[in-house]
């Protein structure tokens, strides 16, 4: 197990290099002049433009820019954005915000998704099962932007149950955006759990367990649920990384100052250092959570061993 984890961690190094270079190249390839865009309708003084281009190595070829970036990175210098603010500061300030949002979203996935899926799986074709089917179809088919504005309008403005925007009210502020962010995944988790449950309930070992005279509760919780959760855990684990990176729309609608918004703004301003810094972090999280999932496999299913 230890060797397996070490090998996986070593593998992240080339992946991170590859990812940073790809992102760097993509930002580099964006057409246009970011410094000219900074100045807007009235151009900056020519010497000021030259100064800024020089400061951000914008006159260098791609490989030179990337190399200079790596050299700085080796000194734990993540660079600055065009405002002169260190990228590390931005990450430090925004990571906790996005982490909280992600945590709330995952909590919803587990609470609502798994519970609804289990109940639907047990009572297949019953009323609750149909309710889950219809509601999840509805949620998945509505774009998250519309869902966000709708939730904000109905639950925030009309009913006044939740704050409309911002993070001023602590964890409470994260509930509504967390739910919206999780919506698609909740539906998927519910479906996945339902299918997995109903399949396993018909499996031989469950029949055996029933035949042994175990209570229905023990059969469902101890024998079926544990096995059924393996694909669900895989999905949720991978989804943590996806949620962190995919919060752009939700963070925009609910005005939450997280990483998603920072990346969005940075891409629009073609600020390579910021994009690469944050996206690398997200790639790292993605790899990390996938590793956690793989390790959890062994815990959930004793047949799987990584030796």
């Amino acid at each position: 197990m230890g060797r397996y984890i070490a090998r996986r961690l070593l593998l992240t190094i080339p992946v991170l290099f590859g990812a940073t270079f790809l992102i760097f190249a993509m930002v580099y390839a964006l057409p246009g002049d970011p410094i000219r865009a900074l100045s807007g309708d009235r151009p900056l003084a020519p010497a000021v433009i030259a100064q800024l281009r020089d400061e951000f190595n914008l006159n260098d070829p791609l490989l030179v820019q990337y190399f200079k970036y790596l050299v700085d990175l080796a000194h734990f210098d993540f660079g600055t954005d065009f405002r002169g603010r260190p990228v590390l500061d931005t990450i430090e300030q925004r990571l906790p915000v996005t982490a909280r949002l992600t945590l709330v979203a995952v909590a919803f996935e587990v609470l609502i998704g798994v519970v609804a899926g289990v109940l639907a799986g047990i009572r297949r074709n019953g009323f609750f099962d149909n309710l889950v089917l219809v509601s999840t179809t509805l949620i998945v088919s509505v774009p998250i932007l519309v869902l966000g504005f709708l939730a904000q309008y109905v639950l925030g403005l009309r009913l006044g149950w939740f704050p409309i925007s911002g993070i001023n009210e602590g964890w409470y502020s994260y509930l509504l955006p967390g739910l919206v962010l999780a919506a698609g995944s909740v539906a998927y988790v519910a479906r996945l759990t339902r299918t997995s449950m109903s399949e396993n309930l018909r499996a031989d070992y469950v029949r055996t367990a029933r035949a042994k005279g175990l209570t229905p509760r023990t059969v469902v919780v101890r024998h079926t649920l544990r096995n059924s959760l393996i694909p669900v855990v895989t999905f949720i684990g991978a989804d943590v990384g996806t949620l962190m990176g995919g919060a752009i729309v939700t963070e925009g609608v609910f005005n939450i100052p997280g990483l998603g918004r920072a990346v969005f703004d940075a891409i629009r301003a073609q600020e390579g250092a910021v994009v690469v810094g944050i996206v690398t972090l997200l790639v790292f999280f993605f790899i990390f959570f996938n590793l956690v999932v793989d390790v959890l496999y062994a815990v959930l299913d004793p047949r799987i061993r990584y030796d």
């Binding site: 100045s39 504005f149 920072a262």
Partner: protein, 551 residues
């Protein structure tokens, strides 16, 4: 100055379905915030994320300016109609020849850290902003001061910096004593006192110069009615509180102001509907028709300084004949477009100088009125090739599609010329193309004033000296007569005389039509019942100090 405000409008349009519901909201609001206004209290204000740290010399866009103007008071202030008022730090700004200006400061002004405002506070700040290695956005505002060129780093042909500037201080700036300094300009410029109310000319405290880069990200230290409670937090905002030792007349009414950054204008609008936010400067496009009835007299509008125009590529042979440009202008029904597409957020432009500026003349532009017959006549005279489409350029993602297309349809209808839309470029590609004579047909651009003078609508946009890369004359227009009239305006002894010359220059421009004036902006804001006395100034910004919180 740069307009970045309406960028969110497109995103907002995409959720029209969700926002239709908004229309039925707020039926219990009869407008007219009751309650009595009193000093103190706190309110919140929404802005977009500023592009730069809150350093006045590096803040040339609208969002950061909104905060900078609450934190700083400059030499002069602008009155309701943009007139110069000596309610700022300057006692007087005088000159015998309009070239060398003596600025005398009032006693008793202090920075928020308690240190006095002296002549050096200005001179040091101006030198810092002008010095090119500091890369301050407003550097060019000092280009008419003697010695500015020596503060610009030497660059090679590829735009690389090859040598440091020759000097760090402009010889045109001299400190006489603590309360007095002189400014020597490269030539006579009677409008100089009008310009110094702009951000770029604000003073900086001594503590700023110890480590400007760190200070830029730290708590701003200004001279204004409000002081900052802490650094500006990216994507979040900043809290301002009343500066008790403010020496000016227009002291802050509220005790604290919570300036919040929003990235979606529809979110800030929903927040003000829900009463969680007090003042919003942007109304989503789809809420504009319902906002007046929903907010009553808490919906406020006034003309803004923003000016939208279609630049003409005078460097393209097809558009080099003024008659062609006049004809195209006369084939456009501006009235119909503002009504059909803008819901009153823009008004048709009949001058190249905005209505908020002294010197504006309604109907100054003869060719801005729809006259299909004359347009066709002129086009024939000029021998315009109607078989080729007219290519219309605009930048992507900023909601220009609809009105530019409407212009195209009118050209097709009225002139019998096909059109094609060229709207795929982001600002970062669009602007360099403008500087490189890359446009093949009329192109959209905008302008918002830096200071209320007709000069600001003429010289930076159409003078020969403003040809790219030095300025924004992207139509590549050059007319010695125009340049001379602007120069005469700059030299004029009285404001009336100056305006007279500027209007003559304006007439030359509107005859040559290197640009087609299209629309002037209308500023629209809404506020909650929590606040009163919400006033928009000539720059289209909220007068933060004047806002009172209802007790």
């Amino acid at each position: 100055m740069k307009l970045s405000k309406r960028r969110g409008a497109l995103v907002a349009g995409g959720v029209a379905a969700a926002m239709v519901l908004t229309a039925c909201g707020g039926s219990d609001d009869n407008g007219g915030g009751g309650g009595t206004a009193a000093e103190g209290g706190s309110f919140s204000l929404a802005i977009n994320n500023p592009e730069n740290p809150l350093v006045p010399g590096n803040t040339t866009e609208t969002e950061g300016s909104q905060v900078v103007k609450a934190l700083w008071t400059g030499l002069i202030q602008y009155g309701e109609d943009g007139e110069v008022e000596y309610t700022g730090i300057a006692e007087s700004i005088e000159s015998d020849d309009n070239t060398t200006w003596t600025i005398t400061l009032k006693d008793g002004w202090t920075f928020h850290d308690g240190t006095p405002v002296t002549a050096s506070s200005f001179v040091d700040a101006w030198n810092y902003t002008a010095y090119s290695p500091n890369a301050q956005g407003a550097s060019y505002f000092f280009s008419n001061i003697v010695g500015y060129d020596e503060l610009q780093a030497e660059t090679d042909d590829e735009g690389n910096v090859v040598a440091d500037p020759a000097a760090t201080e402009m010889t045109g700036l001299q400190v006489v004593d603590d309360q007095t300094f002189t400014v020597t300009l490269n030539g006579p410029f009677a409008q100089f006192p009008v310009t110094v109310g702009y951000n770029a000319f604000f003073p900086m405290a001594e503590s700023f110069f110890e480590d400007p880069e760190a200070a830029a990200l730290d708590t701003p230290v200004g001279t204004g009615p409000f002081q900052a409670e802490g650094p500006f937090e990216e994507g979040v905002g900043i809290t301002l509180s009343k500066y008790e030792d403010y020496a000016g007349e227009d002291e802050a009414q509220a005790e604290t102001v919570d300036v919040r950054v929003y990235s979606e204008i529809s979110t800030s609008y929903t927040d003000v509907q829900g009463g969680n936010l007090d003042v919003v400067k942007d109304i989503p496009a789809d809420a504009i028709t319902t906002a007046p009835s929903e907010f009553g007299d808490r919906f406020i509008q006034r003309p803004s300084s923003s000016f939208t125009y279609l630049g003409m590529p005078t460097y393209v042979e097809r558009y080099s004949d003024p008659r062609v440009r006049q004809a195209i202008s006369m084939a456009i029904d501006r009235e119909a477009i503002t009504e059909a597409i803008f819901n009153g957020t823009f008004t048709p432009a009949t001058d190249a100088i905005a209505p908020v500026v002294d010197g504006y003349r309604e109907g100054a532009c003869e060719y801005c009125e729809l006259d299909v017959e004359r347009a066709n006549q002129l086009l024939d005279e000029a021998g315009f090739d109607r078989s080729q489409p007219i290519e219309l350029w605009f930048n992507a993602g900023a909601s220009h599609d609809a009105w530019v297309e409407a212009v195209g349809n009118q050209l097709r209808e009225n002139l019998g010329v096909e059109y094609s839309l060229q709207g795929n470029l982001e600002f970062a590609q669009y602007l360099p193309l403008a500087d490189d004579q890359g446009f093949t047909g009329p192109f959209r651009l905008g302008w918002a004033m830096d200071y209320p003078s007709p000069q600001n609508y003429l010289e930076p946009l159409y003078s020969t000296a403003a040809l790219p890369p030095n300025g924004s004359n992207t139509a590549f227009y050059s007319n010695p007569e125009f340049d001379e009239l602007v120069a005469q305006g700059n030299r004029a002894e009285s404001n009336e005389q100056a305006i007279d010359f500027y209007q003559q220059a304006d007439d030359v421009l509107l005859e040559d039509m290197p640009i087609l004036p299209m629309f002037f902006g209308v500023e629209q804001i809404v506020h909650s019942e929590n606040v009163s006395n919400v006033v928009i100034d000539v720059f289209g910004q909220i007068d933060v100090a004047g806002v009172t919180v209802n007790g």
